[in-house]
Amino acid sequence: MDDDDAHGTVKLISKEGDTFEVPVEIAKLSTLVMTTLGEGDDDDADEDDIVEIPLPNVKATVLAKVIEYCTHYKDEPMTTITTPLKSNRVEEIVQEWYANFVKVEQIMLFELVTAANFMDIKPLLDLTCLAVSVYIKGKSAEEIRRIFNISNDFSPEEEAQVREENRWAEGAPKK
């Protein structure tokens, strides 16, 4: 471990220009941050040198949540999400804190997916994708359209063909 890592912080700059100063230890959960920082091999680098990382894709509100995630992760790493999923319910797959973390508005949830992807934070990406998928699991096409406000752009013939082809999936036990 390097001394630099232990003491340093990094400045994450949101889309709107807000600066969030975060300990490197915590921000490192983001592979993007970690690779941008590289390794402080340089003899000249000392704790005064705080790196600024612009994140033009990430809004301040979202970035705040991301940092909250990373901060908590340091103390309680999230359970690894593996498939097949044990359950339909997020609280049965990850710890309570994390299950609550994703109980946010849909818009924020999707922003978190994008942010996690951009900042390359695998556990957060997994968690948020899982949370979105919960909206989808077990739902019919009509229900999915309703939830996500999607229009049905199939022609009647296409729709019929799709339904016919996939009848095997209906009435199937949960799996």
Binding site: P54, L85, T114, P123, C129, E158
Partner: protein, 747 residues
């Protein structure tokens, strides 16, 4: 290696400082991600796909495919050429990405396709089939993404085996004229029978070029200015006239469906579950997505003749080869060699057909893996051949079985005797009667081939494999494990080989400085499509010793793969069409063994001592010597073996007179130890402190960390199952891929 994937327990090893160039690249990536509608086409680690040609050939279609994308998806760049359909409903504004916008809704459309696929990867099969794909046209395409269904299938049945439906039979006429619309349609039927051809669509024609036949002089490419340049071109010189339709056989969704049906039917006698139907893709125009197109492209690319035409590997006819020549000119100089006709007399060559193999191995299962798939799969031969016949995917499951000899001793008999006869230098009992100076000390009393055998069958690392795979499968660039040499004999089907010399890293491959991690495109298709031009440049390298070598090995040939050489292997299928009609899938069956001999013993010892984490072939078997013990145990067993065989000079008259009282084997070991201590003989391995970490290393170590375990789209949405699922699976995964990005560990 998979241990280094999770962020929380990243090993603390020296990382490169980012150069200004690397920081600039990062910045560009971030900016690019900001610009695009949905992030498509801006995967920072891969160049964007070339656009497919439309009317104007000069748009430069960089690739040919066997057939159009089944759903009509096009690369993202094509969005710039899109035009509103003639009949737009007047009240809705049109823009190029409307299908996506409407199909995903205001929330989801902010995510890019990779993220959509990530989300869908958590959804179960039935919901995908009855809910997601029926939601909208865009979700229809996304929900049929092959990798999703592959992973669902493997997770559920990979370990226990699953049935592969027979490929659908296409009942259409062969049309010479691509404009002919008269085709036979077969009504959509239950899986196992029938299939219907797709209707042609304008945008699919944009991808698929008109066939040029030899006797057709109206060749629109006859103008010399549009003559094909080497590599990927706009002309199709070998596609068949049929290339505008294809078989709808065997997609993963069908496999999932039929197995799901079997599983659920047996549970519930009263309910009559409808039998699954073959998936028949509905063409959807207006979808522009590198995510969906790239993986399709990588599995269905045409094999361009120029990829297959060069022959630069040393070649010798078996009748001209003597053991002397082999040892002196090839094994000891570490030079690849193609021995024509070496296996021609092996019984396997005439006996092994798919039917024979099926019958011989009835009820036994074999293990198939793929760099892209999350889990290995168990197949019996019957189902595996069916899979080969129908598999059209980016990184097919490749059957690599190391226990075939035990499972089916007849298979071993079919080649072992032949090997001893035609390639005595590759047999342990060969006694050097011909005076070959293997050890450099006046001729060995015993052959020094396959030294690892001293550990015994159970304890030694894996060393021999039966390899079966569909056409277009193969191995991406890798170096064989444990610094071993290898020989490889195709029995059915030909193989295309590309070698790069030790230390001369192939294009598109990014090893970390100590070789611990290697990143490369996940699939062969991706490599050919992305790096072919760079490869052609490398053939002209000023330093001749760094140039690649290539050849095609046919049944009857045996190839010597010296240790430390990078190599890539592509299965070409059986004789005949190299590109071939789509119907020609072809299967490839080969045998291979890895070995240690006097020529690579020093490097092997050094490897076992200094690269413990890269040792493979022994991690997932209880009885095998563990990597950390292998160096020590190997030496112990060598010396024991020497003693037992009387090769310690004590009881051998011959030795007493020539040796210094100690046996040749012990001598060999001692000499090798000395060499090993001084450094590597082969440039494949460098030590951290003696290599100048050139910029490429640094750059690519960074890229490497980002890519982690392979670039499978789904890999980003799920964590590796190693260590979390059963131990068996975990170790299998560890074993199957040395270094995260590897497709396969050895060939």
């Amino acid at each position: 290696m998979t241990e280094s994937v999770t962020a929380t327990n990243k090993p603390t090893r020296k990382r490169q400082r980012l150069s200004p160039k690397q920081i600039a690249i990062r910045q560009k990536e971030r900016e690019a991600a900001q610009c695009t509608l949905n992030g498509n086409g801006m995967n920072g680690s891969l160049p964007p796909l070339p656009t497919s040609g439309t009317d104007d050939e000069d748009q430069g279609s960089g690739f040919d495919t066997l057939f159009g994308h089944p759903y009509g998806a096009l690369p993202y760049g094509n969005i710039h050429f899109s035009a509103p359909p003639s009949s737009t409903s007047s009240d809705e504004p049109w823009h190029p990405d409307v299908v996506r916008h409407k199909g995903l809704g205001p929330l989801l459309h902010r995510l890019n396709d990779e993220q959509i696929v990530s989300i869908l990867s958590f959804v179960d099969g039935p919901t995908l089939a009855k809910g997601v794909v029926a939601t909208s046209r865009f979700l229809y395409v996304a929900g049929h993404h092959a990798e999703l269904w592959r992973d669902l299938t493997l997770r559920r049945w990979g370990e226990v085996g699953f049935e592969v439906p027979s490929p659908a039979v296409s009942v259409t006429s062969d049309n010479e004229d691509s404009n002919d619309d008269t085709r036979n349609y077969v009504k959509n039927r239950d899986i196992g029978i029938g299939g219907r051809d797709e209707e042609k669509k304008d945008d699919m024609e944009a991808i698929v070029h008109e066939p040029t036949t030899a006797d057709n002089n109206t060749n629109k490419y006859s103008d010399s200015s549009t003559l094909p340049k080497e590599g990927l071109t706009t002309t199709t010189t070998t596609t068949t006239p049929d290339n505008h339709h294809h078989k709808l056989s065997g997609c993963w969704k069908d496999i999932y469906a039929i197995n799901h049906y079997k599983a659920t039917s047996s549970n519930d006698d009263t309910q009559h579950n409808p039998k699954p139907r073959h998936h028949v893709p509905i063409p959807i125009s207006g979808i522009y997505s590198d995510t969906f197109f790239r993986s399709f492209l990588c599995r269905s690319f045409s094999l361009h003749p120029s990829w297959l035409s060069t022959h630069t590997v040393s070649t010798i006819s078996h009748s001209e080869l003597t053991p002397q020549i082999f040892f002196r000119d090839y094994e000891q100089t570490n030079t690849p060699l193609l021995i024509k006709g070496a296996s021609a007399t092996w019984p396997a060559l005439r006996k092994w057909t798919p039917d024979y193999l099926r019958n011989l191995t009835r009820n036994r299962t074999f293990r198939a893996t793929s760099g892209a798939a999350p889990l290995p799969a168990l197949f019996d031969m019957e189902n595996y051949f069916k899979y080969c016949a129908s598999a059209v995917e980016e990184a097919p499951l490749y059957l690599f079985d190391r226990t075939f000899a035990k499972k089916c001793p007849e298979l071993l008999k079919d080649f072992e005797g032949g090997l001893r006869e035609t390639c005595p230098f590759w047999c342990a009992e060969w006694d050097g009667v011909n005076g070959i100076d293997e050890g450099g000390d006046g001729g060995g009393r015993r052959g020094y081939h396959d030294l690892l055998r001293v550990l015994g069958e159970e304890r030694r690392p894996d060393y021999q494999w039966l390899i079966v795979g569909p056409k277009r499968s193969g191995s991406a660039f890798h170096i064989d494990p444990n610094a071993t040499h290898a020989w490889n004999a195709p029995i059915i089907g030909r193989k295309r080989w590309i070698f790069y010399p030790p230390g001369s890293t192939p294009p598109g491959v990014y090893p970390s400085p100590d070789g611990d991690e290697v990143c490369m495109p996940l699939s062969l298709g991706e490599w050919f499509l992305t790096y072919w031009d760079a490869h052609v440049e490398r053939r002209k390298d000023e330093d001749v010793t760094r140039r690649p070598l290539e050849c095609t090995a046919c049944p009857g040939d045996v190839l010597f793969v010296p240790h430390g050489w990078w190599h890539l292997v592509l299965n070409l299928g059986e004789d005949g069409e190299d590109d071939g009609a789509v119907e020609d899938r072809g299967v490839s069956v080969a045998l291979t063994r890895n070995y240690v001999s006097a020529s690579n013993l020093p490097d092997v010892l050094r490897f076992l001592d200094t690269r413990v984490s890269q040792i493979s072939g022994c991690r997932d078997r209880e009885e095998a010597v563990k990597p950390e013990d292998l160096g020590r145990e190997f030496r112990k067993s060598l010396l024991n073996f020497a003693k037992e065989e009387g090769d310690d000079g004590s009881s051998c008259e011959e030795c007493k007179s020539t040796s210094n009282g100690r046996g040749k084997l012990a001598d060999l070991l001692e000499r090798s130890e000395k060499v090993a201590k001084e450094g590597w003989q082969c440039a494949a391995w460098k030590d951290l402190d003696d290599a100048e970490n050139d910029e490429q290393c640094g750059n690519d170590a960074v890229a490497c960390q980002k890519k982690g375990t392979g670039t499978s789209i789904l890999a980003r949405a799920k964590l590796p199952s190693e260590g979390e699922t059963s131990d068996h699976t975990a170790k299998n995964n560890n074993d199957a891929s040395v270094g995260g990005g590897f497709s396969f560990s050895f060939m």
